[in-house]
Symmetry: D2
Amino acid sequence: MLKGFTLPKSPFGQAALTPPPPWHYSSDVVGVEFWTDPGAAAATLPSGLTPDPKSNGRCVVMFLDRQFTAQDDEYLNPARYQYREAFVLLDAMYGDTPVMWCPYVFVDNDAALARGWTQGFPQKLGSIFQTRSYAAKSPAAAPLAPGSRFGASLSAHGQRLAEARITLRRPVQDGLSLLGRPTVLLRYFPRLAAGHQDKPAIDELTMSVTDNVAVAEAWIGEGELNLPEARGEELHSLVPQRIESGFRYSLAYSVTDLKILEDHTSR
Amino acid sequence: MLKGFTLPKSPFGQAALTPPPPWHYSSDVVGVEFWTDPGAAAATLPSGLTPDPKSNGRCVVMFLDRQFTAQDDEYLNPARYQYREAFVLLDAMYGDTPVMWCPYVFVDNDAALARGWTQGFPQKLGSIFQTRSYAAKSPAAAPLAPGSRFGASLSAHGQRLAEARITLRRPVQDGLSLLGRPTVLLRYFPRLAAGHQDKPAIDELTMSVTDNVAVAEAWIGEGELNLPEARGEELHSLVPQRIESGFRYSLAYSVTDLKILEDHTSR
Amino acid sequence: MLKGFTLPKSPFGQAALTPPPPWHYSSDVVGVEFWTDPGAAAATLPSGLTPDPKSNGRCVVMFLDRQFTAQDDEYLNPARYQYREAFVLLDAMYGDTPVMWCPYVFVDNDAALARGWTQGFPQKLGSIFQTRSYAAKSPAAAPLAPGSRFGASLSAHGQRLAEARITLRRPVQDGLSLLGRPTVLLRYFPRLAAGHQDKPAIDELTMSVTDNVAVAEAWIGEGELNLPEARGEELHSLVPQRIESGFRYSLAYSVTDLKILEDHTSR
Amino acid sequence: MLKGFTLPKSPFGQAALTPPPPWHYSSDVVGVEFWTDPGAAAATLPSGLTPDPKSNGRCVVMFLDRQFTAQDDEYLNPARYQYREAFVLLDAMYGDTPVMWCPYVFVDNDAALARGWTQGFPQKLGSIFQTRSYAAKSPAAAPLAPGSRFGASLSAHGQRLAEARITLRRPVQDGLSLLGRPTVLLRYFPRLAAGHQDKPAIDELTMSVTDNVAVAEAWIGEGELNLPEARGEELHSLVPQRIESGFRYSLAYSVTDLKILEDHTSR
């Protein structure tokens, strides 16, 4: 009997891409809130979501330095389980519920990619960097303080896809408003059998379920964002028309569940 | 209406991890045929396959330098679509049909990973290298000639998983016998919804379908293979007991279909 | 007139591998202090250094997540200037002065490599990871607290060279004793001209000069360390015989100078 | 007595970045010959070289898939010694001698970087890809035939620096004219000691010496080349004004020597 939460299934279950949930994450986030062309935002929505009439075109891009652990001290094996991520979320409606939709996301780690696909995050591989804040004082330290600046970037296959800079102005006491909406995803897996390639084996609208959410050291200020055009990508269709803010915070949460909103799979 | 064969689905279908089939591949292969502990080989078989009574324990490991194209000249964008791969195949029976089963496979490219998962190849990310043969004469050229040697290796997350060396002895006129069996795979995708995490959304035994198979410059000779023990992997359970041969050839084929042998998905 | 502190010299001086000093660094360090075979330690010493009769065989290995900046806000471009490093230092004597000698060091960034070579750090490329400590509470957060654990690893060319684990026990109020000795290096650059390949163009014993040293959040506890054997490396010759401690701290300093202790260059 | 041709010097000489010469190379080259602004080309020349009055502005960019070996079968360890490279050469005069000058070059391997610096190639790290030609027939094979096309690209730190495409038209029987000139380099290594940072420790104009040059399967045709602007680079200053040709060939040679044309080092 083969074991493992994902492929590869193996005799001892040690070879699987990711251990089973619960999945625990802690991270530092550098992000920019911005407004893009409402039509461009709406064009990314899957069946089941509609533009938010009050905030269509509102997006956030986030760059995350992440640490993962499950039940077996995976955080002590950072070569395999530590990773970096960048994604875009944009405002939408699921029926009467304001939600965020994730059209594009990149990670630099295969365990993260396997977990992400399981939830519906459409992860591709990328190279993600963010300026870090260090405890030891230095011109290189980027402290959490008014006026402190952070850079971040995303590249994939040698092309730069996003560059951001933020300047901190003030701590945010009561959390970031941008975390107020649940994230909706498309869980999707194609069929390859001839004659069925337009009938996916999985086609579900899902909602991310997160427990034990903890936010720390949240700061807000100004932001800049470039989304250069790149072949093989469509992230640049969400080019900013106006920047709302830049922000940085530490974020932790756990994942043990997923809500299936709609199952569109044709069987 | 979002477009794309895989995630991410996007307005223009340009962001998907892989273009739709037909998928065309050309490659150079360095490989070793070997015998492992029959119990270790049998332990990797999924439900639906049984050990081959005549050759249980026979394995091949292959290292591939690969080039991919679909319909849009993807081979001209090697930064995105060229890749390297390493996998193990081992003898098994599907009913009365002799087949090969792929328990472990590694690639260094996300487009390849997305295509592999769609077929049932359990791809993880790795770093794969093989000695190449160059046309310009040099001690560095590794010509296709008797006595010529090639090395190959596989690493993942900074751990060495496999090291092979082969010595060519003679060209093989009528193809490699090891290509005579079809490859059987486990197409598998988990559910994350609480209470359903042991009921995969896809659980299919599949058979790889390849067209336009072309083999060129096939040579056979001796081989060596090490499969060092590594945390988070089980490839080393297939450690060689006896080496049968080393080989090298060029291989091309196309993929436009997949045969579903058995669907074990519980709905 | 070409500009630039290092190659490539260019019309505007923007292409050079590293900007000129002052170089400012901030970092998090996970390390292990240990004792190796005294003969193995002594065998790594260059001409000009002798074993420390009181502590020959004492070594530290450190893994660093580093951020760099010079005069042009390089820390805002982390894709180019943020990096990771791992090195070994061992006790030695320069005349009557107790010093530390750096036989082996690895980085994952070419700007760091160029700076390191300029000082005499014998940097090769590697892949370095350490468990990080995050502000947001989680099983994945690795807080700075008694009993908290951190892992670290070093690989190069797909081979694992070092694996460490530490457990924090108590903060260290007055800095780490291991920082008390200056670091001595071999600045060395070969000649390639035939007949001169054994007469290096640079052969200097140097001492690292650091300003503005800041240590923060220093903790000490227990450590574990493996240095697996690897082809093309000699780090494993320093395999631990006894572990002294594990430690973690944040470290910042600036570099604007280098002391040349001895010039052995034959001209 | 420490051993090794370069750092790190070690007891057994196994840890050095590169083995000592002779160095043997075999490679496949995809390249574009083009004309840039003569002033931009002249601006890259070091002291000792002058613009070629007959062909100032003529450049070639080459992308190489390379295999290296020295005396110890290094080509059987491709994870450590196989690599990729991209560089620009441009026409210049050394006194009355027509030469080529190499202002910018990128590799993806530290052993190659150490050898390059030793000669005067100003190597930085980059990510280089070229379409390959495979023996097994396929739409993915890119045969050596009239009309066959090849792509190539160079990126560094996640920024795309060069993209080329070529179309083969006809084999070149008598070698490529572009190989007719020797390559001149700047061998340069800074001092870091305060007060001496503008007085390099090595400042030599050198000429590459290659033996056993072998060219095979040379083809010529058309080319396209983009050199996008990128921060931290000046390659884009050589943007093409006119494309002369595209070409592809296999190239092998050995290196055992270096000619020092002028020594500008101030001692």
